[in-house]
């Protein structure tokens, strides 16, 4: 099976005045279908930049990006936007719900954008909100929701079009531990259903949920390994070590 996401020697250099600041320096990454990859690293290691480039929010300086077997780094901004509608779902640290729209409208928006009829969009929204226990908040405005609820809505919105890959940038960075647990459980659930996820985090506990851990340091992959998952024993100890 071909990789959902593949990068070849991906480089991003920001131009800050006259001084070039490299953020990502030659990353080769391959994400298989159904994989849950956590990208870890300290602040400034380029992990957010990497994920933004994977979703086309930021342009690469050099290198290649492949999505679902197609090369996408050469796409224009508009072509990227069209691609995102069907293939990429985003979850951000600050939720980024459209403040003026109700929770329900926020979730329906991607479906409508992808060309679904209002009826289909509404059905999809109901099933998603139902699955996330948010059915009764559909008419609320995002500002009335707690952080955890907002992030769940953001997740529902990201999943509305059943994207090839879900890109999550510090999805729990702004949540307390209880809400973090809720959101992580949801991520785990969708992963079990076969959703490919790339998640950026600097929290080892959050990263441990993934089945593969990529560590970035100064824009380069310094470690890439599977997290062995056993029913008992040492996996729990790894978590407890923190």
């Amino acid at each position: 099976m071909s990789a959902v996401v593949k990068t070849v020697n991906l480089v991003k250099i920001y131009q800050d005045g006259a001084v070039p600041v490299p953020a990502v320096r030659g990353v080769d990454l391959q994400v298989e279908p159904g994989e849950f990859v956590a990208v870890m690293g300290p602040s400034g290691s380029g992990k957010s930049t990497l994920v933004h480039m994977l979703g086309g929010l930021d342009t690469r300086t050099s290198g290649e990006i492949w999505l679902d077997g197609k090369r996408v780094d050469t796409l224009s901004e508009s072509a990227w936007a069209l691609l995102r509608r069907k293939k990429v779902g985003f979850v951000f640290q600050f939720f980024n719900l459209v403040a003026n729209m109700t929770v329900g409208d926020n979730v329906e928006l991607p479906a409508l954008l992808a060309g679904a009829s209002p009826k289909v969009a509404r059905e999809r929204r109901e099933s998603l909100l139902g699955a996330l226990n948010l059915t009764d908040r559909a008419d609320a405005s995002p500002a009335q929701l707690s952080g955890g609820e907002q992030q769940r809505v953001a997740l529902a919105r990201a999943l509305a079009n059943q994207p090839s890959v879900l890109l999550a940038d510090e999805p729990t960075g702004n949540l307390d531990s209880r809400n973090t647990r809720d959101v992580l459980r949801l991520l785990g659930d969708v992963h079990k259903e076969g959703q490919t996820i790339v998640m950026v985090t600097h929290d080892a506990r959050v990263a441990s949920l993934a089945d593969r851990l990529v560590s970035l340091f100064d824009g380069e992959i310094v470690d890439d390994g599977r997290i062995s998952r056993r029913r008992t024993g040492t996996a729990g100890e790894v978590i407890d070590l923190r």
Partner: protein, 758 residues
């Protein structure tokens, strides 16, 4: 397009979230458009009454006068759709209160014709049951102070007197207003005219032609000239009638254009500020939309549709409101479609252009939502550093800093205040100029305020008239005078030669350039005449007055409000004796503070009602409609700048919400926070108002003089608003602006903003 549905959802949600702001935008644009349309129509109607009258009367485009009933088929000329008449018309004199006025008595049937039918304004049309009835054209009736039922005594050419009774007063578009256009017009039944003037040789026939294309008058009148040859006495077209009815159109036209430009700029500013502010505040949401798959073009389109729709809705509402107001005030036919359409199209274009820029900018938002709309990092501006140096309170320093963190919006806010303020200053200058006209009529050539004529039929010797005038206790000086028309070389038209006083004892014309004449053969002239003949001060001009040459040297330029400035003024002794002896009239300069009407009444009584006494009409009275326009202008400008300010301060608030929380955490009281915010907006307002007032003051006299120059009155009339007026205007402007800025500031100072937001 797949994004249509999603986009419309977003627009709807956004509009719902800011109803008040959206309504304000719509109302501002609607107010501007309505004011523009109302002003345009009022001015159009006030300055060009012909159009409305022509429409009401289904007027004829060409009028021809023949000495016999035309025996040719005028209706057969190409382009002629309908023919009015021919009607027989006889010259008579109307004797009214001792005055005698020339009139044309027109035979008209009892059933008004289809084309060029006078529209009865008061009373009824002619009725065979009342053969002694007469219908008088309105301006003629007004000038003669005729009412329905009043006797109308006419003297036929034979000298015979007839008394008719006024049955109706009607509007007509076939000739200009009396007394500018003589003779006056009155309608009687054909049978009555036969009785009054049985001699057909003493009457003429009047025929009106209505054309399919108003611009074809030239061709049609040439055909008429060829067909009728020597039977034709004269032809005139709607253009001459319209020109005769027009009143200082050039001045008002310029004013209207100025008003229109201001309105458009203001509409653009209002919409651009509203849309721009909204887009800046929405950058985060726009980024989110992009991350979900909206393209750059779609975002721009979305914004263009949303804000453009608000603007266009305002334009539509304003057009309907403006149309409605003018239709109610002036009647439905008074609304001129072309200026209204031009205004609607112009504002719509301007609105879309003004929305286009912020929409395009919004479309270029980077899709990374992590970059929220932060103001550029606040470095202390030089001004803020200065504020810090002179130890201003911290709130003021912070406000000063805030005012300039975003340079472009800061500039736009100040500019948005400065432009209206400049226009207000100019408006006040125009007002001051009009006041100056009214207070100092001698500066516009109206040193004399009464003109006494010995009467047309010379029942009174001119010397007697002069004696009566000189004996009056309130008359300061009596100048003999005469108005004659002179043919200018190379011009197929005549100019007015006004002779008042003598060369050695001249009438005090307001000379603004060169000098006053002081000997025979010298003259002063208005700007219009200098332009018409292409001469300058010091040149000699040769005119022909009734066959006699008049050669004068122009030694000065006067302020000349009459006849588009196409007047040359000389001493009476410069005219040939046949034109100046006896004097046609006496110009009476009154002592200061004397009531004109009282003197007029006394002179009339003294002379046994046989003097014809006219009061000079001050140009300020003729131009009083300008004052209405100025008030409307100021009101609209105020509304616009306040709307702009509200947007600006709301935007400023959004930028600083986070800072404010931090400031509060550092120990600023709510009052200090409020002061910070008000200072931020207020500083820009003060800058804008100051700059606007300064710019206005520096151009106002120049602009009015320029306008005076082009309208023929001549430069030298412009007055800047007085220092006191300007100071009051500035204080009121700044005060209102601060009061408006206070509203959002108060709310913000009390709001609980968590430091951790974002």
């Amino acid at each position: 397009m797949t994004a249509t549905l999603a986009g419309s959802r977003w627009i709807r949600a956004d509009l719902r979230a800011r109803k008040a702001q959206a309504v304000l935008t719509v109302l501002t644009v609607a107010g501007i458009v309505a004011a523009l349309i109302t002003a345009a129509t009022l001015l159009e109607d006030g300055t060009n009454p012909w159009r409305s009258l022509f429409a009401q009367t289904d007027g004829a485009h060409v009028w021809l006068y023949t000495d016999d009933s035309p025996q040719v088929a005028l209706g057969g000329i190409d382009g002629v759709t309908q023919v009015a008449g021919p009607y027989r018309s006889a010259p008579v004199t109307v004797a009214q209160e001792g005055k005698k006025d020339p009139a044309a008595l027109r035979a008209m049937p009892a059933t008004p014709p289809q084309v060029a039918h006078p529209v009865v304004a008061e009373g009824r049309w002619l009725d065979p049951a009342q053969p002694d009835g007469v219908v008088v054209e309105r301006s003629f009736a007004t000038s003669l102070r005729l009412r329905i039922g009043a006797p109308f005594t006419i003297i036929a050419l034979s000298g015979e007197r007839h008394t008719l009774y006024v049955r109706g007063i009607a509007d007509s578009a076939e000739q200009g207003f009396y007394p500018q256009w003589t003779p006056g017009l009155a309608y009687v039944l054909p049978a009555m005219l036969d009785r009054i003037e049985p001699m057909l040789g003493r009457s003429e026939w009047v025929t009106g032609l209505r054309l399919a294309d108003p611009d074809a008058t030239q061709v049609v009148s040439q055909r008429v000239v060829v067909m009728l040859e020597d039977k034709l006495q004269r032809v005139y077209t709607w253009r001459e009638v319209r020109a005769a009815m027009e009143l200082d159109n050039r001045l008002l036209g310029t004013l209207l254009a100025l008003f229109g430009v201001v309105g458009l700029v203001a509409a653009a500013l209002a919409v651009a500020n509203a849309a721009g502010g909204r887009v800046l505040g929405q950058l985060r949401d726009l980024a989110t939309l992009k991350s979900m798959g909206f393209t750059r073009g779609q975002i721009a389109l979305l914004l263009l549709v949303e804000h453009g729709a608000l603007g266009l809705l305002g334009v539509a509402l304003g057009a309907v409101a403006g149309w409605g107001v003018t239709a109610v005030v002036l009647g439905a036919t008074s609304v001129a479609p072309i200026p209204v359409l031009a205004i609607v199209a112009g504002t719509a274009l301007v609105v879309l252009a003004a929305v286009g820029v912020p929409a395009w900018r919004g479309g270029r938002t980077p899709p990374i939502p992590a970059a929220p709309a932060l103001p550029p990092r606040g470095h202390l501006s030089r001004l803020a550093r200065l504020a810090l140096l002179v130890r201003l309170p911290p709130a003021l320093v912070l406000g000063t800093r805030d005012a300039f963190t975003r340079r472009v919006p800061a500039f736009l806010t100040a500019f948005g205040v400065a432009v209206p303020m400049m226009m207000i200053t100019i408006g006040l200058g125009v007002w001051a100029t009009l006041d100056n006209f009214a207070d100092h009529p001698e500066q516009v050539g109206q040193h004399a305020s009464l003109y006494v004529r010995p009467g047309r039929l010379a029942q009174l010797e001119p010397a007697e008239a002069k004696r009566i005038a000189e004996q009056d206790r309130d008359v300061a000086q009596v100048y003999p005078g005469a108005d004659v028309n002179a043919l200018a070389p190379g011009e197929a038209r005549s100019v007015r030669v006004r002779a008042i006083g003598s060369s050695t004892e001249p009438y005090p014309f307001p000379v603004v350039e060169g000098r006053m004449y002081d000997r025979q053969g010298e003259a002063v002239a208005g700007q219009g005449l200098l332009d018409l003949l292409g001469v300058k001060i010091g040149d000699r001009v040769r005119l022909t007055v009734g066959g006699t040459p008049l050669i004068v040297r122009i030694v000065g330029r006067t302020v000349e409000p009459d006849l588009d400035g196409e007047v040359i003024s000389v001493g009476l002794d410069s005219l040939a004796a046949k034109d100046s002896v006896p004097p046609e009239f006496y110009a009476l300069a009154l002592k200061p503070g004397v009531d004109q009407a009282e003197v007029r009444g006394r002179l009339l009584a003294e002379s046994g009602e046989s003097l014809d006494i006219q009061s000079a009409v001050n140009p300020a009275d003729r131009l009083s409609i300008i004052r209405v326009v100025i008030v409307a202008l100021i009101a609209v400008l105020l509304l616009i700048s306040l709307a702009n300010l509200l947007t600006a301060s709301a935007l400023g608030l959004r930028d600083h919400a986070f800072d404010l929380a931090v400031l509060k955490a550092m120990g600023l009281t709510p009052r200090q926070v409020m002061a910070t915010l008000v200072t931020g907006t207020g500083l820009l307002v003060v800058l804008g108002v100051g700059a606007g007032a300064a710019a206005g003051m520096s151009v106002v006299t120049g602009l009015i003089d320029l306008q005076g120059h082009t309208s023929g009155v001549g430069a030298g009339i412009g007055r800047a608003p007085s220092a006191l007026t300007l100071a009051v205007a500035v204080v009121v402007a700044v005060g209102t602006a601060l009061a408006v800025a206070l509203i959002p500031a108060r709310r913000a100072a009390r709001a609980q903003v968590p430091v951790t937001s974002r």
